[in-house]
Symmetry: C2
């Protein structure tokens, strides 16, 4: 039987001694020049050259970060631009990350109802059993959109459960206009995101979804810059692992993000994407390491870990 | 310059004399036995046999329905199970449908913020310009998830605008638990879906998004079974085209769905998926047409059109 996602994750966080996760949002035009130039002169068509370059870049990033962080987040939105080639690349990177011992979160934000939700869940949370695809792995967990409420979430939660996988339901975003919808409050002052969090927690708290770590395989995504208000969710929902995007480029500080960890440092994954994978664009690193973009990324991960560790003291 | 999506759609609805659209949610195990058997004996691996069968089935369905309805809705959730092969199939079906003169709605329910929303928008609303993918077409419109509010919607709306495409923002679902989140009401009694509809309408009503038909290229998805309450949206938002799923198998009646049409019959697309594409499972048709599954589907479309036309009188 597959092990429990939350337990694997807690073990990985413990062994890497950090809640930091690295997000891969690869944009071709921002890749290191050395990778782009080599691919462009390879005689391939543009789409193949770009996706090959993205694969090479991401593979190298995975190798750099694997000894340092417990998990990576692959944002499928940046792969879908390349249609089927993009999806094949996304799947190959899951295998690479798995071979490197990383926990893998597919940031796919899927959400629908009924049969469609079931079909998305099978696509993204179940290793394919069909011959021809049977060497493909599904990620350890995915992000989902819970807009349709409990019965839009359950097909994902149940499929995750059966397969030793997990889900993170998007509860509160960090963009400015998210407040218009998600902070919408009823007469008693309860906000829409709190209502959604309650629905997610009801599912997450079901005994069979809890691992020996005490955490559920159903978690929540909460933007790091979503403001003080969301801190209450940590106190309220002890079994929840929070996936907190926005550390770094989106403007969330270490302290903003650490609100979602328990005092023992468990209970949250703090994700940085662009500030890490494009560290070579940052003078702080490029002045020190020049064209050695891999060293820039490695140092940015080390720095982010130290920043989080210091803020946690 | 590309023509305006809403204008193309209105023209198609006028020429086919129906707001009915057919949704393709293909599930391999439900395909006609004749198609499944032929593919299974072809010596291919399972994944390739299944997706080839789905492609054959969907292509035939498109040919049957093209003379009868203005548009089709392709549900990407049923293709993603086959990973890259599924996406290639989905893209090929868009080309097939385009060649048949159909308007094509990609039911993808994507939603995210910032750079990710932009990347999804480029993936799903822009014909690829990269060599190697430049014979691929994006659908005429897609469904999106507006959970993140205005700045999660705008990247999709703007990309659609630039490319003569459209979007339908999911405003009110039809599943039972949708009410918990979407009917959540503030002190003044305004519901969350109404708040979201207002945000969508503000974008939709911008002058440059309106076609000569008077309709915007930004529409809304409202479940047919979402109850009487949602009817007010039709009166309130004159420029909106509503995409109304749930006619047939999901239990919405013709009258439930026609609430979203204006008195002149424009302003809504009424979608039936399983009740049409699996019509051969329905004794009403199989007793009459036997193994001729194509005839069953053709008759189901004709019957659904008549049902809508009668209810509209």
């Amino acid at each position: 039987m597959a092990s429990h996602f939350a337990d694997r994750l807690c073990k990985a966080v413990g062994s890497k001694k950090t809640p930091l996760t690295v997000g891969l949002d690869p944009v071709y035009s921002r890749l290191p020049a050395a990778i782009r130039q080599r691919k462009e002169s390879g005689g391939e068509n543009d789409a193949a050259a770009e996706i090959d370059a993205i694969f090479e870049f991401c593979t190298k990033v995975l190798r750099i970060v694997a000894p340092l962080v417990p998990a990576v987040k692959l944002n499928i939105g940046f792969f879908e631009r390349y249609l089927w080639d993009g999806i094949e690349c996304y799947c190959s990177l899951i295998t690479e990350a798995e071979d490197l011992g990383l926990e893998i979160i597919g940031d796919v934000k899927r959400g629908d109802i009924g049969h469609t939700a079931e079909s998305y869940a099978k696509a993204h949370l179940q290793n394919p059993e069909l011959s021809g695809l049977d060497d493909v792995l599904a990620p350890d967990a995915i992000t989902i959109n819970g807009f349709a409420g409990t019965d839009g979430i359950l097909p994902f939660a149940d499929t995750a459960d059966k397969n030793g996988k997990g889900i993170f339901v998007w509860v509160r975003a960090s963009n400015p206009s998210a407040a218009d919808i998600q902070d919408f409050a009823d007469a008693a002052g309860e906000k829409m995101y709190e209502k959604l969090a309650k629905a997610v927690a009801e599912i997450a708290n079901q005994t069979h979804r809890t691992g020996v770590s005490g955490y559920s395989n159903v978690g929540m995504v909460i933007g790091g810059t979503s403001g003080e208000q969301t801190t209450a969710l940590r106190e309220k929902y002890g079994k929840i692992i929070f996936l907190v995007p926005g550390f770094g480029s989106q403007g969330a500080t270490a302290a903003d993000c650490l609100r979602f960890c328990k005092p023992d440092g468990t209970g949250a994954l703090i994700n940085a994407s662009r500030s890490i994978i494009y560290a070579y664009e940052n003078e702080k690193y490029s002045q020190q390491y020049g064209d050695n973009w891999e060293k820039c990324i490695e140092q940015a991960v080390a720095d982010a870990k130290i920043e989080l560790a210091k803020a946690a003291q």
